[in-house]
Point group: C2
Chain length 674, copies 2
Amino acid sequence: IEAPCAEDGGMEELATEKEAEESHRQDSVNLLTFILLLTLTILTIWLFKRRRVRFLHETGLAMIYGLLVGVILRYGIPATSYHHKTPPSCSLKEGPASTLLLNVSGKFFEYTLKGEINSREIHNVEQNDMLRKVTFDPEVFFNILLPPIIFHAGYSLKKRHFFRNLGSIITYAFLGTAISCFVIGNLMYGVVKLMQVVGQLTDKFYYTDCLFFGAIISATDPVTVLAIFNELHADGDLYALLFGESVMNDAVAIVLSSSIVAYQPAGANTHMFDASAFFKSVGVFLGIFSGSFVMGAATGVVTLHCFPLLETALFFLMSWSTFLLAEACGFTGVVAVLFCGITQAHYTYNNLSEESTKRTKQLFEVLHFLAENFIFSYMGLALFTFQNHIFSPIFIIGAFISIFIGRALNIYPLSFLLNLGRRHKINQNFQHMMMFAGLRGAMAFALAIRDTATYARQMMFTTTLLIVFFTVWVFGGGTTPMLSWLHIRVVTVSRLQLIFPFCVCRVDVDPDQDLQPCVDNFQVLQGDGSQAEGQSKTKQESAWLFRLWYTFDHNYLKPILTHSGPPLTSTLPSYCGPLASCLTSPQAYENHEQLRDPDSDLIHSDADLTFMFGDTAITANGASANAAGGSGWSANGKRSGSTSEEALERELDSREQELLSRGTRLVFPIEDHV
Amino acid sequence: IEAPCAEDGGMEELATEKEAEESHRQDSVNLLTFILLLTLTILTIWLFKRRRVRFLHETGLAMIYGLLVGVILRYGIPATSYHHKTPPSCSLKEGPASTLLLNVSGKFFEYTLKGEINSREIHNVEQNDMLRKVTFDPEVFFNILLPPIIFHAGYSLKKRHFFRNLGSIITYAFLGTAISCFVIGNLMYGVVKLMQVVGQLTDKFYYTDCLFFGAIISATDPVTVLAIFNELHADGDLYALLFGESVMNDAVAIVLSSSIVAYQPAGANTHMFDASAFFKSVGVFLGIFSGSFVMGAATGVVTLHCFPLLETALFFLMSWSTFLLAEACGFTGVVAVLFCGITQAHYTYNNLSEESTKRTKQLFEVLHFLAENFIFSYMGLALFTFQNHIFSPIFIIGAFISIFIGRALNIYPLSFLLNLGRRHKINQNFQHMMMFAGLRGAMAFALAIRDTATYARQMMFTTTLLIVFFTVWVFGGGTTPMLSWLHIRVVTVSRLQLIFPFCVCRVDVDPDQDLQPCVDNFQVLQGDGSQAEGQSKTKQESAWLFRLWYTFDHNYLKPILTHSGPPLTSTLPSYCGPLASCLTSPQAYENHEQLRDPDSDLIHSDADLTFMFGDTAITANGASANAAGGSGWSANGKRSGSTSEEALERELDSREQELLSRGTRLVFPIEDHV
């Protein structure tokens, strides 16, 4: 086979076919490896969920299994079974083109460019075909795996707490990530200089490389922490702050890093950061934002009623086309998809039929679940199968210290500034929790693996991998102890069901949406006479940015883009009459009376809910909660965490007694070892 | 850019990067084109569904839009905007390897083999990069688009009518497809000989090529017809026969064609069909079947309760791994996935939680919908963008006549033979309908495009494309007139709702599963005293093959693989006691009493349902229907279509009157122009 008879066309063709078949089979085996990994993860997670094990999240588990398989692939399979063969090589004077024709005695074969490989890798090509095969093209992450994850994050952002904390979230995400990036970049530059002095650095490492590292490692991904928050129904504001920040700073990190790469001076010697380039990239970022926003709004208008399958398919296609459109325009698809998700959750969701809202949610939930666990198990695998790791202890230790300092300089000063303007202060314990929840995950990894051609990038990749492992396992696993150590109040399911025995709350749904019916039930029980009063009060307390946005959105955007909200004819001034009636959907008039806008909850019933989650941050809401609550529920107006916790505990107990004395049926979950 | 300075590494790198970026952007635009095509299709279909337009199915529409875009791409875009560039070429003595290294002044680039191109195509490479770009790698169809379609088909086969007609379906699918393949192959060989005489043939065309064409064109795909059957609630048996045949013969055609290719004699001169090779491939086929069956059964055991997301993810992964496992073993993944789907529908489905059954169905429904419409719109596009069409009028006309004769020699003789053994005869009109419903679709196309390297294959591809277009548009569009012309009874929704006013039947769900609750409601209304009698009668009438299978499945397989069915301890002989209690799931004991096995409907309530669909084939069921029906429903025991139709019409009318006189509320669909 090594040197087929060039004259016999049939034999040669057969050999090529055999080789292609072999390669296809190898691909199947590789994919199968990952699928078995995911299957194992799912089975174990299922066991963990049944046993209520919280110290290890599915992503952490996926990494462990990935590591194990990586070890097996690396050391377990004897070297003889590898496909030893030096690929033929040919020389050209011209630079590489995307397509290359190979002329083998008159027959032409087409080859496509896969990428440059350096001299070390050529050795690997010869030696270890198997390990190279399980290494994916990094673009797979950006074009296939990240989009559903990011879209799902955006689509899940339809939360009352998110919009209430919008200002803070944007501050953390934009300003905070920029701070983190520069702090880490500069500290790492110091580390690199130190390494040069010690003589540990064997190749070039520029200042822009350090900044790039700062950008990629600033993308936080507290998926583990948030899962536990969800399960324990921890504070809604804290959840929204963490989730919102992590979603947004992914977008910021990706744009930051790509602008650092794209606008670095062409001359190889300077490699300093260019401020004007940065502002250019901010412009691009804003361009993407508004483009995606318009795109998302456009899809909101194009929804179909009556046929759930068509609605779901269209929804899926519109999300995907946002991604592709952005990529085609030279923007960043992942960022576009994020904002498309947010817009769709806010507008399109209202236009979909009930069946379709469920379908789309479930579809993206499954895609997100699979993609996320795939990435994490791939990370585990990559630690052993990636060929060009550069473990540099000084760099790694320096990076760990830098990200700690960078996170601290992001959270604490910004929280202080935000607290100056916020009515609901972000208290010390919340700040510590946010500091603690600075895990790194899929986005940092995907950005790091995108380019591993140079020495500096390879060192960054190895370090990023280790940081992800460490933060996911250690910080992720420590969330539950940390929550109780910081006295952050969690409401467990059995507790909730004692108070609201009329509804069975499921375990694994996010707190806001799940508790809503319970709270409604409760208000029916209590009689909500004084609610109107409470409403207006809470409305005044809302952040001004949010209030401004809410009014504009509710009065103008929603009526134009969805079938909900008041008709435009009633919100626009009278001289806009014809335009208004032209833009308003006929259904809006019908809805006007009986419609309870789902987003009106954003403002109205916050008081009750925050009280429900009864934590240390509820003080500002105390008065209105009191007004809304009615009988038997005295609001605790104190700032201190432990005192209000005790007060709530007492409240819960008395409420429990009251219900029991009335003979109400109590619903307990089957297994509740909380 | 054409000749970058080879000395300046930075500039060169930048040029490569730019080119890669450009290529990525181009890919995005291409995908976007397809997504917009699908979006257009969905929007139009939505309009059609609302207007109840039945003459054009979504797949037909997708083809039309594909054609339009193909025309625009081909003729609309000025040639100047193409990316004119001759790819560099280099020569080697050795045969092509899957990986090629390119050495450009010391730097190495890796290239992967895309395939052989002939001299005509090299010209195209130079001329029309854009058109080549929208042409997908044919393996995309087999590895990405076909699996969800075929899996969904298998997963939808859980139908009472399917299992009752299993023997006939297998006969049509295996024997019938083999007949069709040989008849078409031999007829086409005659056509090819004729073309040689006339001098229309400019290159080689062997006998095995003709047989190959027979195999690929024997895969029927009456998706259009079945959609209309679904909508009109046409006869269940006919539906099952057509659907079952089309699903199964895809598998047969794919194995047939690959065995014809794989086992053709290596010497280029003989190219005759080898019978021993055929039997070898039958062995492979049986191997795949049993392998997939075991695989599917294994996944049936590995289901998780309580967490729908995990269940759905696991279900998806198991289906996919079946595909990959088969490919890795050198079998045919698509076939494995089909049987995996059938097994999962039969066993796994019973183990899933209610939420998951819905989720999995919806997930695969969306995937199937998107994949199918993508393939059909790609077909439309390919007619203009594919570069190597060979339109040969004689070959095309010959092919049309051959497939007609092939289908006739499949349906009529086999139906005659089957009718000798069947209790429920397949009557003349049903046979005509089956003959009519021999559309060609996705599978034929995918098989034809897989290899278009030689002259013969290119001619086949062009012909296949035209056959698909013609059959989908003409036969697909003519289904509704044909149904009424053949007097095949359809039950429309408004009609059904008149009879069973207590349930609102949705329009676009398949007849069996949707009607089941209605029938149950009806029985509650009527009182089902004499049902036991009807049961035993219908049981005796069932086909022996089915009865044998049903007993084995119900007594042994279901208890082992699922939580339903009777416990093994009661079905196995007493000396197997310990083994039995070990294999039985604890839930089976609990279920034993109250369980209504969902598949028991397969036999028990057939009588009522067949009566409901009241068509010409119900005669054999007449007696039991009479027994089960009870009051006011006289069974019509005559063979003739029109008479029984009139009788049913009268029945419906009298029933309607009766209900109206009782003052029952009647539910009408909003728009029903049926």
